[in-house]
C-alpha cells in the first residue's frame, strides 16, 4: 500500500542524503520526495511517498525516527489529511486541437502559464486522481515536457482515523 510520510528534519546539509540513504540502503522505494523549509528556517519538511506492506512501513517510520536529524515522523495514512502535487506540462496540440486543449485545461482548472509558437505550458495542482486524469486526457495532444513536484501533504485539524 502507498503511504505519504511527512518528516520534519533539522535543516542541515547532508540530511537529505541521510534520509534517501536509509531508503536505498534498506531496499525501500521512494516514489516521490519533496523538501522545503518550514516557517522556522532551522527546520525542513520532507514529504515522502513510498509503498510497502505494514511491516515495511513500520520499519520505515521507525528507522526515520532513529536518524538523529529527524524531529518528527507522521504517516499521513494514519490521519485525515490533504495532499497536493503540482505538475508543469508543455504540450504541443496541433492547430485544430488548440481550442479543445485549452477547454480541457479550463475544466481541470489548469492554468496556462506560457505559450510559444507551437506549445502551451500548463500548471495543474491537485490530488493524485485529478492529476492522473488530466494527464491521461491530454496525452493524445502530444506532451513535450513534463515536470512534477512530488506530493506535499498535511494532516487536517483534529481528525484522526480510527
Amino acid at each position: 500500500m502507498r503511504h505519504t510520510i511527512s518528516v520534519l528534519v533539522e535543516n542541515r546539509f547532508g540530511v537529505l542524503s541521510r534520509v534517501s540513504g536509509l531508503f536505498s540502503g534498506r531496499g525501500y522505494n521512494i516514489e516521490s520526495i519533496s523538501v522545503g523549509e518550514t516557517i522556522d528556517s532551522a527546520i525542513s519538511l520532507m514529504t515522502i511517498v513510498t509503498s510497502g506492506d505494514d511491516q515495511i512501513i513500520e520499519q520505515i517510520t521507525k528507522q526515520l525516527n532513529k536518524l538523529i536529524d529527524v524531529i518528527k515522523v507522521v504517516d499521513l495514512v494514519d490521519v485525515e489529511h490533504v495532499e497536493r502535487e503540482m505538475v508543469l506540462i508543455k504540450a504541443a496540440p496541433k492547430k485544430g486541437d488548440k481550442t479543445e486543449f485549452l477547454k480541457l485545461a479550463e475544466i481541470f482548472r489548469a492554468r496556462v502559464i506560457d505559450s510559444g509558437a507551437s506549445t502551451f505550458t500548463v500548471e495543474i495542482t491537485g490530488d493524485e486522481k485529478k492529476i492522473a486524469a488530466f494527464i491521461e486526457l491530454i496525452k493524445p495532444f502530444g506532451i513535450k515536457e513534463f515536470a512534477r513536484t512530488g506530493k506535499v501533504g498535511m494532516a487536517r485539524e483534529g481528525l484522526k482515523n480510527t
Partner: protein, 575 residues
C-alpha cells in the same frame, strides 16, 4: 583566551575522561598530533594500521564499557577505518572516531588524500559530523560522546578539516547536550511491564533469550535476578555471552546456527520467549516462519527498530533493559508470584541437555581445536577476557568457554569481521591491564591484522593469541564439505607463514603445539609471560567442524549433529 582546534579537541577528550586514544598520524592531523606530543594525561597508542586502531578502540570499549576513541588522518586513513566502524555499528559499540579532512576550501576538489568519509560512513555510524567552523568543535564533540554512549550505543565519526583543527576559538565545554530530535526511551511503558508479568505468570514453558543489549545496558545482575526469580532457562545470543553466567544450571548456552541442541530445542518448544536486548538476527532465528512456533514472544529493547523487524512480537517493550527488568522484578514481587524450583519443563530441558551435550572427538594424536578452547577455559578458570576472530574459532570459543561475567567476551557478531580479535585484544589489555586477555584465532583471520604485533610488543602487552591452525578457512571449508561436494575452492591456506617465526621477528614469543599432549604446557608457558605478546600455533585437525549446525534456510531445531556426518572423503595434498 583563544586556543587552537587541536587543543580544544584534547581538552574535550579530557573532559570526557578519555585516557587512551588509538590512532595513526598523517598530513591533515599534524596539528592534533603535535598537541599530543606534550600531552601528559592522554596516551595515544600508535597502531600499525588504521583498521587496527578502530578495532582496538572497539575492544577497549567492549572490555571497559567506556567510549572508545580513535584518531586517523584523511583519505586512506579514514577509509581504512570503515570496516572497524561498521563492526562497531553492527554490535552497537560506543566509539568516537576523529578523521582528518582536507582544508574546508579544498573539500570537493579531489584534493590529495581527500575522501568523503562523512558520506562513506553515513550508513555505518550512529551519526556523523563534518565540523566546518572551529567555534562548533566543542559542542560537536560533546554531542558525539552523548550520542555514542546513550540510547542504543554506536560509533560516531567527526570529520575535522585541517583549518578547523588549526583555527583558534574560545574554549568552553558545554555542560549538557540537548538534541531535540534525540530522546531515547529508557523507561518501559507501565502497562506493558504489567503485561510482561502477566504473560510470565501464565507461561508453562518460558525461555529467556538474552543478547548484547544486556551487556550494553549493564543489566547482567538484573537478568540473573530475573531468571532465578521466575526459574526460566536462559539462552544467550553470541553477543549476549557473559550477560548470564554460562556455568549456571539455568544456562542453555548459545542458540541459533551453531547454538546448543538444548537451547534450540528449548526455544522451539517454549510457550513464552522473552527476548531481552536481542534483534533476532538471521543467524539466531534460522527460518523465521518456524522460529519459536509455539511461543508468545516478548521483546524488550531500547531500539524500536529492532522490534518486529525480523520476527513477530506479541508484546514489545521499548526501554533500557536495566530499568525494564527492575520494573518487571518489582512487579513480580508485588504480585507475590511464585515459581516452582522444578517443573516438567525444566526436567524436559535437562533431558535435552544430557541427550546431546556439546561434544567433540577425543583424540590423542591430532589436536582437536575444541580441546584447545576447553583447556584454555580450564586453565584460566573461566576468568580471562576472550577475543575471537571470525569463523570456526569464534564458534568454538562461544561453545566451549563458559562466560560467567559480562565484558569478558569480545567478538564481532553482526558484521563478522575477520581480523577483529587481535587488535581488539590489544584494546582490551589497555582497558584491563591486570586481566589475562586471549585472542582465539584462526590461521586465516590472524593474518588480517597481524601487523599489530608491533603495537603489542612496543607496549609490552602480554596478550596471548591462540591460533587454531587448520591450514584452511575452516568455516567456509566446512560449508564446502557439507554443501559443495568437498570442492575446497580457495579455502586452502597453504603457504601460510611460520607463526612462531613471525612472532619472534616482531620481538614477541612464539610457541607451538603439534600434539594434544603439548597443549597444556604451551598454554601454561604462555601465561607466564607478562611483558610481551605470545603467539601459540596449535596444529589442529583440519577436518574438525562446528556442530551443531543449522543449515541455511532451516528451522533451528533442524540441526546437523556430528554423528550425522561422515568423515570427508577427499583432500588434496594433505595429511
Amino acid at each position: 583566551m583563544k586556543i587552537s582546534g587541536a587543543k580544544i579537541l584534547l581538552e574535550c577528550l579530557k573532559k570526557e575522561k578519555v585516557k587512551h586514544i588509538f590512532g595513526y598520524p598523517g598530513g591533515v592531523v599534524l596539528n592534533i598530533f603535535d598537541e599530543l606530543y606534550d600531552e601528559k594525561s592522554l596516551e595515544l597508542i600508535l597502531t600499525r594500521h588504521e583498521q587496527g586502531a578502530i578495532h582496538s578502540a572497539d575492544g577497549y570499549a567492549r572490555a571497559s564499557g567506556k567510549v572508545g576513541v580513535a584518531i586517523v588522518t584523511s583519505g586512506p586513513g579514514a577509509t581504512n577505518t570503515v570496516t572497524g566502524i561498521a563492526t562497531a555499528s553492527m554490535d552497537s559499540i560506543p566509539m568516537v572516531i576523529f578523521s582528518g579532512q582536507v582544508p574546508t576550501m579544498l573539500i570537493g576538489n579531489d584534493a590529495f588524500q581527500e575522501a568523503d568519509i562523512v558520506g562513506i560512513t553515513r550508513p555505518c555510524t550512529k551519526h556523523n559530523y563534518l565540523v566546518k567552523d572551529v567555534k562548533d568543535l566543542a559542542q560537536t564533540i560533546k554531542e558525539a560522546f552523548h550520542i555514542a554512549s546513550t540510547g542504543r550505543p554506536g560509533p560516531v565519526l567527526i570529520d575535522l578539516p585541517r583549518d578547523v583543527s588549526a583555527g583558534m576559538a574560545e574554549f568552553e565545554y558545554p555542560k549538557e547536550v540537548n538534541i531535540r530530535s534525540y530522546n531515547p526511551t529508557y523507561h518501559g511503558n507501565k502497562w506493558m511491564t504489567k503485561k510482561v508479568t502477566q504473560m510470565i505468570a501464565e507461561a508453562e514453558r518460558p525461555v529467556i533469550m538474552a543478547g548484547g543489549g544486556v551487556i550494553l545496558s549493564e543489566a547482567a545482575k538484573e537478568l540473573t535476578q530475573f531468571a532465578k526469580l521466575i526459574n526460566a532457562p536462559v539462552t544467550t545470543t553470541l553477543m549476549g555471552l557473559g550477560g548470564f553466567p554460562g556455568s549456571d544450571d539455568l544456562a542453555l548456552g548459545m542458540l541459533g546456527m551453531h547454538g546448543t541442541y538444548f537451547a534450540n530445542k528449548a526455544v522451539q518448544n517454549a510457550d513464552l520467549l522473552i527476548g531481552i536486548g536481542v534483534r533476532f538476527d538471521d543467524r539466531v532465528t534460522g527460518r523465521t516462519a518456524d522460529f519459536a512456533p509455539k511461543a508468545k514472544i516478548i521483546q524488550i529493547d531500547i531500539d524500536p527498530t529492532s522490534i518486529r523487524k525480523n520476527v513477530r512480537v506479541d508484546l514489545p517493550v521499548v526501554g533500557d533493559i536495566k530499568h525494564v527488568l527492575k520494573d518487571v522484578i518489582k512487579s513480580i514481587k508485588e504480585q507475590k508470584l511464585k515459581f516452582a524450583k522444578s517443573s516438567p519443563w525444566l526436567t524436559q530441558v535437562n533431558e535435552w541437555k544430557t541427550e546431546h551435550p556439546l561434544s567433540y572427538k577425543k583424540d590423542s594424536d591430532i589436536i582437536q581445536p575444541e580441546f584447545v578452547v576447553e583447556k584454555i577455559y580450564e586453565l584460566t578458570k573461566g576468568d580471562a577476557i576472550i577475543c575471537t576472530e571470525v569463523g570456526q574459532n569464534q564458534m568454538w570459543s562461544a561453545q566451549f568457554y563458559k562466560y560467567d561475567k559480562p565484558r569478558q567476551w569480545l567478538s564481532s557478531g553482526g558484521l563478522g569481521t575477520m581480523g577483529y580479535g587481535f587488535p581488539a585484544a590489544i584494546g582490551a589489555q589497555f582497558a584491563c591491564p591486570d586481566k589475562l586477555v586471549i585472542d582465539i584465532a584462526g590461521d586465516g583471520s590472524i593474518q588480517m591484522n597481524i601487523q599489530e604485533l608491533a603495537t603489542a610488543v612496543l607496549n609490552k602487552l602480554p596478550v596471548k593469541v591462540a591460533i587454531l591452525n587448520n591450514g584452511f578457512l575452516g568455516m567456509v571449508r566446512q560449508w564446502q564439505e557439507l554443501f559443495f561436494k568437498e570442492r575446497y575452492s580457495h579455502t586452502d591456506l597453504d603457504g601460510g607463514p611460520d607463526f612462531v617465526k613471525v612472532a619472534e621477528a616482531y620481538g614477541a614469543v612464539g610457541l607451538r603445539a603439534t600434539k594434544p599432549s603439548e597443549v597444556e604446557a604451551v598454554l601454561k608457558e604462555s601465561f607466564k609471560i607478562k611483558d610481551r605478546p605470545v603467539f601459540m600455533d596449535f596444529a589442529c585437525d583440519w577436518r574438525a567442524k562446528v556442530f551443531p549446525m543449522v543449515p541455511a534456510g532451516a528451522a533451528i531445531d533442524e540441526m546437523i549433529l556430528a554423528e550425522h556426518v561422515s568423515e570427508p572423503k577427499k583432500h588434496k595434498n594433505r595429511k
